[in-house]
């Protein structure tokens, strides 16, 4: 059991959540982080979809890594990711039609999420199943918590709701003259919120600041 979850394994999960975060440090997968974070629910569904696609893709590629011909390895990776995404899309359409409608093209665009291809090529192609799975899980969570955090801020201040439900205390605020900030709903504010997270992260860990 000890070798099953060592310090190194923990690092595989913890690093992408923090100092190796795909969005805030590596600046990958930004497009979807900007586009679908107006509502918490969408961010959660997107996160679940990415977790599923990443862990499955990494596991499959890791299992096949010694059999994949080198010349077509990128195509094989793409094929695996694309079919998993198509699978997710079908399942959402059948079981969560409203979320599927809201996310529309962005589910399909998971295929182009740089984080996934990046981890497949950089990690799963050269590591064993368990490590690849953990690495994918860590990166997917690292992507997901940023998404959820941004969506939380945007939905709360943009629509005065969370998960689509009104916040009880807000009615008093409205009486006091508070208004929802419509700017929060627009894409630029996602960039600003992500920027704020990056700022916080770097002020906590000075090693992350580039010297120039």
């Amino acid at each position: 059991m000890k070798s099953f979850f060592t310090k190194q394994h923990q690092k595989l999960i913890a690093d992408p959540m923090g100092d190796q975060n795909p969005i805030t440090i590596q600046v990958l997968g930004i497009c979807s982080a900007l586009a679908i974070t107006t509502q918490l629910e969408n961010a959660l569904v997107m996160t679940l979809a990415v977790i599923f696609v990443m862990t499955s893709a990494s596991s499959i590629i890791s299992l096949l890594r010694n059999h994949i011909p080198n010349r077509i390895r990128i195509i094989v990776q793409l094929l695996v990711v694309a079919s998993l995404v198509a699978l997710v899309d079908q399942i959402l359409k059948a079981f969560l039609p409203d979320a599927s409608e809201q996310l529309s093209v962005f589910i399909g665009l998971i295929i182009t999420n740089c984080i996934i291809m990046g981890r497949l090529e950089a990690f799963a192609m050269g590591n064993k199943l368990w490590e690849s799975f953990l690495d994918a899980l860590g990166n997917a969570f690292g992507y997901g918590w940023i998404l959820v955090a941004v969506a939380f801020v945007r939905e709360l201040f943009g629509s005065g709701k969370l998960m689509g439900y009104e916040i009880p205390g807000f009615t008093y605020l409205y009486d006091l003259g508070y208004m929802n900030n419509n700017l929060m709903i627009l894409p630029p504010m996602a960039l600003v919120v992500v920027g704020l997270i990056i700022w916080m992260q770097r002020s906590k860990n000075n090693d992350l600041i580039e010297e120039n």
Partner: protein
């Protein structure tokens, strides 16, 4: 076998594609009935929203059968034709550029709510960035608007996208599609605000002019066709009234 040989590469690719293709095809087939049901539920919810009935995915079918008592199809000239009105996808017809207006089928739904009868018409048109669509409910006179709902695919948030909000939809209630002489005039979505007291205008959306114009064009193009049918019905209505009057005189 040599992993880098052409034969191996080809074999690997072929096997991968076959496996993936089979998995996806099977999933799609298995989930097909559910997806169809979801699309149908959504359509029922949309139709019901035009007469102000809120339905959810759970009770869509129930409410639909409760309120909608008939559905029919007309052709371009307003003649009733055979077929299943619910299965006609107006958005699909609209996107098919090879279809002439004469070739399209125009569905309509009859609803009964609080002992009043309404006719619900699906509409589709073009906004700024993509299609806009909606449902219009007319009262028994086939003239007065009882309710209207609109939606869009990708209009600008805060501007054109506002067509699916109450502030745009509610003013349609009570408007008329024909003037006092019985001529078809449609409903204008007016930039700068509707004339006070006008029965044929609603306020356009500031900053969403192209979307507003798209909605107006959609209303005119669609209602014009349905009006062919309505005027025919109204004439026969008038005939029966005259007949009964005559009978009374005798």
């Amino acid at each position: 076998m040599n992993k880098e040989s052409n034969l191996y590469t080809f074999l690997f690719a072929i096997i991968m594609v076959l496996v993936v293709g089979t998995v996806l095809a099977v999933t799609s087939e298995v989930l097909q009935p559910r997806k169809k049901q979801n699309a149908a539920d959504k359509k029922m919810i949309d139709i019901l929203s035009a007469i102000g009935v809120d339905a959810t995915r759970n009770n869509a079918k129930e409410k639909y059968t409760e309120y909608i008592y008939d559905a029919s199809i007309i052709d371009y000239k307003g003649n009733l034709i055979e077929g299943s009105a619910f299965d006609i996808d107006v958005l699909f017809q609209y996107r098919d550029k090879t279809l002439l207006p004469e070739d399209k089928k125009y569905p309509m739904f009859k609803a009964r709510k609080n002992n009043s009868e309404y006719t619900i018409i699906p509409m589709v048109g073009s906004g700024l960035w993509g299609p806009v669509w909606g449902f219009l409910a007319l009262e028994k006179d086939y003239n007065t608007v009882y309710g209207a709902v609109f939606d869009h695919e990708k209009e600008t948030p805060g501007l054109g996208a506002e067509i699916n909000t109450d502030f745009f939809e509610v003013p349609f209630k009570g408007k008329k599609i024909r003037n006092s002489l019985g001529q078809f005039v449609s409903i204008e979505v007016k930039k700068g605000g509707a004339d006070k007291g006008s029965k044929h205008q609603v306020d356009g959306i500031t900053g969403g002019t192209i979307t507003s114009d798209g909605v107006a064009a959609m209303l005119e193009n669609t209602l014009e066709i349905y009006n062919n049918y309505f005027s025919r019905i109204n004439f026969s209505l008038n005939d029966t009234i005259i007949q009964s009057l005559n009978n009374n005189i005798e």
